[in-house]
């Protein structure tokens, strides 16, 4: 397993939790501290910190030190890797159905020939 796919596994695992997805949505609007995140989610600070740790280890957020605070923000690279991977897989499935459109069109013209 490459480091890249290992990171993707961690990223998808982190994304499987609705609270963590909500935290990412909030961070998409800008940097936030644990305190700022705890309030809207009605969670204790330790609970928020645990989620942030998972997101950080998955490479989806980065945290900087600002005095005693450690504000979080989205990690551009991690989020892009997830986007690209998913876009690729979703595209593969969509492409199957685009191919099926062609198969169906061929079937139609074949049967058209038969009745003419």
């Amino acid at each position: 397993m490459t480091a890249r796919t290992a990171n993707l596994d961690a990223a998808f695992s982190a994304l499987s939790d609705p609270t963590r997805r909500a935290i990412l949505s909030r961070l998409a609007m800008g940097e936030a501290t644990v305190l700022e995140l705890a309030k809207p989610f009605e969670m204790t600070q330790p609970a928020v910190s645990r989620h942030l740790k998972v997101l950080e280890e998955a490479g989806l957020i980065v945290r900087r030190v600002e005095g005693s605070k450690r504000p979080s923000q989205l990690a551009k690279d991690g989020m892009e890797a997830v986007d690209q991977w998913l876009a690729m897989l979703r595209k593969a499935l969509a492409r199957n159905y685009d191919r099926l459109d062609k198969v169906l069109a061929d079937m139609k013209s074949e049967s058209g020939k038969g009745t003419r």
Partner: protein, 154 residues
């Protein structure tokens, strides 16, 4: 053509829908006849399906093998549970990677939609964790990640 939708339902379901400009009979046949399946069920560019066995009857077994021409491949095996010609197929399948994944129970419907067909495929995984892994090789969370990105642009 209309776009594919991919959504989750409850903890264990995945629902895929797609409209086709062909009759339910044609879309159903393209899902059951090996020589037709081999033309489209291929995944990413460069992959082929050299083996496509589908004993299309209730109780029949199927086996699909994919290769990418670079020495990589995997296969899916399954059994057909119910078949209502041109309208509905129920089957169970698992991927071999090479270890078998938990059984995915799939109901595919082909409903008339104007002059075409609305295909809806409902996958039912044994538990939430299996679905999570399936989506990790797939899809829905990526869409969520994309929504997160979208929200950041608004």
């Amino acid at each position: 053509m209309s776009k594919m939708t991919l959504t989750t339902e409850g903890d264990t379901h995945i629902l895929v829908t797609r409209r086709f400009a062909a009759t339910p009979e044609a879309v159903y046949r393209a899902h059951t006849e090996p020589e037709l399946i081999q033309k489209w069920l291929l995944g990413p560019e460069g992959w082929t399906m050299p083996v496509c066995i589908n004993d299309a009857r209730p109780g029949g077994k199927f086996r699909y093998e994919w290769k990418n021409g670079k020495g990589h491949g995997f296969h899916v095996t399954g059994e057909i549970l119910e078949m209502e010609p041109y309208n509905r197929i129920v089957h169970v399948e698992r991927m071999h990677l090479p270890d078998a994944t938990p059984d995915n129970h799939v109901e595919t419907r082909f409903d008339p939609d104007g002059a075409g067909t609305l295909m809806s495929m409902r996958m039912n995984l044994p538990d939430a964790e299996t679905r999570r892994q399936m989506l990790a090789t797939g899809m829905e969370h990526g869409m969520e990640a994309s929504y997160v990105r979208l929200e950041s642009m608004i």
